[in-house]
Symmetry: C2
Subunit: 465 residues, 2 copies
């Protein structure tokens, strides 16, 4: 019984006041997504196991499947008895379902677009704000369930590169609206590093992937250690590795890159053209040059992204990692077969972002009173009056609540304080009969006698309720 009350480890549980702030952030994110012409989209929590297994980049290790509790109980009982393994296997298959919980929002999007493209108008611009589940080991900052806020723009057979510039612009708007002013979106294009590595003599995908992983870790491992790791791969000598890393670190001299490696790698040339195009278009879309930076060391999503890639770091909180990442993929549904749907998207990790905001004091549940009214009750004979005041406030859009729980006025005032009400209405029988009440303003710390029929006006004037 005691165990039934233990919370599960690895899950975030916000207190109601924190949830108010969190929901406010979700509303902000949604409103910017909508403003920029994205439509809402949701999928069930479950996908077919086969869909998850087929999808590229599936983190099979961390995928949760869904079974029937009754089936599990029956199966466990069966195991106590005798029976052939074939019997047991049959029972086990009966316990399992064909469902697994989604571990990202891309696989469900891919499955949906692959099967329903005939009903969609392209480019399909959707936002999706839903939880995903991963069987992480419980540790600080790693949750088994977290909210992803994705946008993607998906084309049918083709998607112009200009859309690669729109996505980070939208994301920058979101971050600014959330109160983060100081962040940089790091921009690169996978074709560049792949092109350089190929022209340096790496030719199989496995080796390139390994090299990219080493480069992606440059920030943590440092220059010398990265040179060492690269040259240990075999196909790159130390001088080349050193030159390559210097190029990556300076990043801004794309012309020099093309001069040096362009002749041997058309892929690199293409990457540089795309990168320049995306960067300039983002500026034309109004993105401040302070908020975007070309950074060739960005090499995430190796198996997935085929061109543009993004990572977003909050100044002063680089150690928290990227709060918003994404990129361009050649084919959303590559491993599900069928038509080609190229796309570009970014995801915003709200849990991680909340960590950043908490650290910078921007997630403070006690900072402000709620613009709301507590109607206290002094005399139950007059209960209809208290209730009708509450009803009238609500029908005028003023958040309000009638205190029917605590009897003593001091306790009612304490409730108002603990629940962050800004206003408290106090009235006894005589005052109510005279058609007036006392209104306490806990922000301006004053009290006024107000005619009941003028209450709505009064609150509308006093606040932005």
């Amino acid at each position: 019984m005691k165990n039934a009350l233990n919370p599960l480890s690895g899950f975030q549980q916000l207190m109601p006041e924190e949830q108010v702030l969190f929901d406010g952030m979700v509303d902000t994110i949604k409103s910017v997504y909508r403003l920029c012409g994205f439509v809402p989209f949701e999928t069930p929590a479950m996908e077919r196991k086969e869909t998850i297994l087929a999808a590229k980049g599936g983190i099979v290790n961390q995928v949760y499947t869904v079974s029937r509790l009754q089936g599990e109980v029956d199966f466990r009982r069966k195991l106590e008895q005798d029976g052939s393994n074939a019997d047991i296997a049959r029972y086990f298959d009966n316990t399992c379902t064909d469902m697994a919980l989604r571990f990202d929002l891309t696989v469900p999007l891919a499955r949906f677009v692959s099967t329903r493209h005939g009903e969609l108008t392209f480019p399909f611009r959707r936002y999706q704000i839903q939880p995903v589940w991963r069987g992480e080991r419980a540790q600080a900052g790693r949750y088994r369930q977290f909210l992803q806020c994705d946008i993607d723009i998906v084309g049918n057979e083709q998607l112009p590169i200009l859309y690669d510039a729109e996505v980070p612009v939208v994301m920058a708007n979101v971050l600014r609206k959330l109160g983060l002013d100081s962040f940089v979106i790091h921009l690169s294009n996978m074709k560049i590093l792949k092109g350089i590595l190929t022209s340096l003599g790496l030719d199989d995908d496995e080796e390139i992937t390994q090299a990219l992983r080493i480069i992606d870790n440059l920030g943590k491992a440092g220059f010398d250690s990265t040179v060492k790791s690269l040259s240990e791969l075999g196909s790159i000598n130390q001088v080349h590795a050193q030159e390559l890393l210097e190029m990556i670190i300076s990043s801004n001299d794309l012309e020099a890159l093309v001069l040096k490696y362009g002749n041997s790698s058309p892929l690199l040339k293409e990457g540089v053209e795309e990168l320049t195009d995306v960067y300039n278009t983002a500026l034309a879309f109004g993105l401040s040059p302070d908020s975007i930076k070309i950074d060739l060391s960005i090499a995430r999503g190796l198996n997935y992204y085929t061109g543009t890639v993004f990572e977003t770091f909050v100044n002063g909180y680089r150690n928290l990692g990227s709060v918003s990442s994404g990129g361009r993929y050649d084919n959303l549904a590559e491993n599900l077969g069928g038509k080609r749907f190229p796309g570009v998207g970014m995801t915003l990790g709200l849990s991680r972002l909340v960590a950043v905001l908490k650290a910078s004091g921007k997630f403070d549940v006690k900072s402000t009173k709620r613009e709301s009214v507590l109607v206290t009750v002094q005399d139950y004979k007059m209960i209809d009056d208290y209730l009708s005041i509450t009803t009238s406030l609500r029908s005028n859009g003023i958040v309000s609540e009638c205190m029917l729980y605590e009897k003593s006025l001091p306790k009612q005032l304490k409730y108002a304080d603990r629940k962050n009400f800004r206003f408290v209405i106090i009235a006894n029988e005589e005052e109510l009969k005279n058609g007036s009440v006392n209104v306490k303003d806990l922000v301006e710390n004053c009290q006024e006698n107000v005619q009941i029929q003028l209450l709505n006006e009064y609150f509308q004037r006093k606040s932005n309720l």
Copy 2:
């Protein structure tokens, strides 16, 4: 591979345009809940199996548990080999987790209040809008995942009966804001039927539960069949059963009820007092007498509700069942042990409600143009101008999108039509250089030439963007 693309049966998949309407409904529900002083609250999708099993009324049959995909694969391989059942049992336990998916929002609330009550201020008024999962057989209108929109008011040790009146008032506000004007909240109190049944000689809980189930089915089974079922129980004769049902059907004569059964049942008297109190208080809270009705045949949640019970039927759609139900419970966390937390709550089944709205033509995705602007692109030389118009509109809160996908103007206009844009901006190089564009209004079916610097003003005047 083909199977990976088959959608799972038993799940609802809204198209993006439908999701827009659905999300609008969720926003409306939230805003009314907030207006009435409820705070948002969310819990993880998973609860401990033990918590779910311990909770009263758990539908164990339909509960989904969560396992590790990798574990399942390993286990299945193990079964191909030899091994003792004890070995297999150990492997199986390793596959399973201690987690199950929630099947309602009450169990998570009970678990949370039981463990965190020290940090809460009572009454705890929370709303919770989250999906729940049930292993239903796939059939029309029954989903394996559906959205519940709950409110509850929970007290610590006690909760005044007046709160039982507030909850249906809030729910009536929600339904009206959702565009439903014609519904009736049916109100009863479990103590009344329990009291009558006891005074008729039923004395064990099992028998009372059976009788309540028979009465709850009155609407479907009809009068004669219900009399027959009741008298077959043994403890009630046919005359008594008939009298009882007549009382229930007339419902309004509570005084007669007390006169007839009150002396032998204090519980019935208490129920009648509470019911009268709740009814009158709901009217004092502003609920129209057309929207609430005493109906003693309401006997749902037999194991759970201990006093007031509610069911809500939409006029003309009674066959769809109750769209919003709830009631008073003596102890939220009864089977989890610890302190007593009485509460009252209602849930709104949004999936079912959408069915009602669809049937009454109020869920029409094509009914209105979106107040939004499509900036078409005629000349890629001028792309920066098109982009900066889009950016400027967005920064003035006007939903807008720049068409970077289709090249031909007719195709761009078709896109605007299919995606329900109200406005389309059309301009060539010359017009842009002269600082003006053409704006097509697809609602008023007219076109105007507008100065670029006056565009924001223009749209703000033309619409409620």
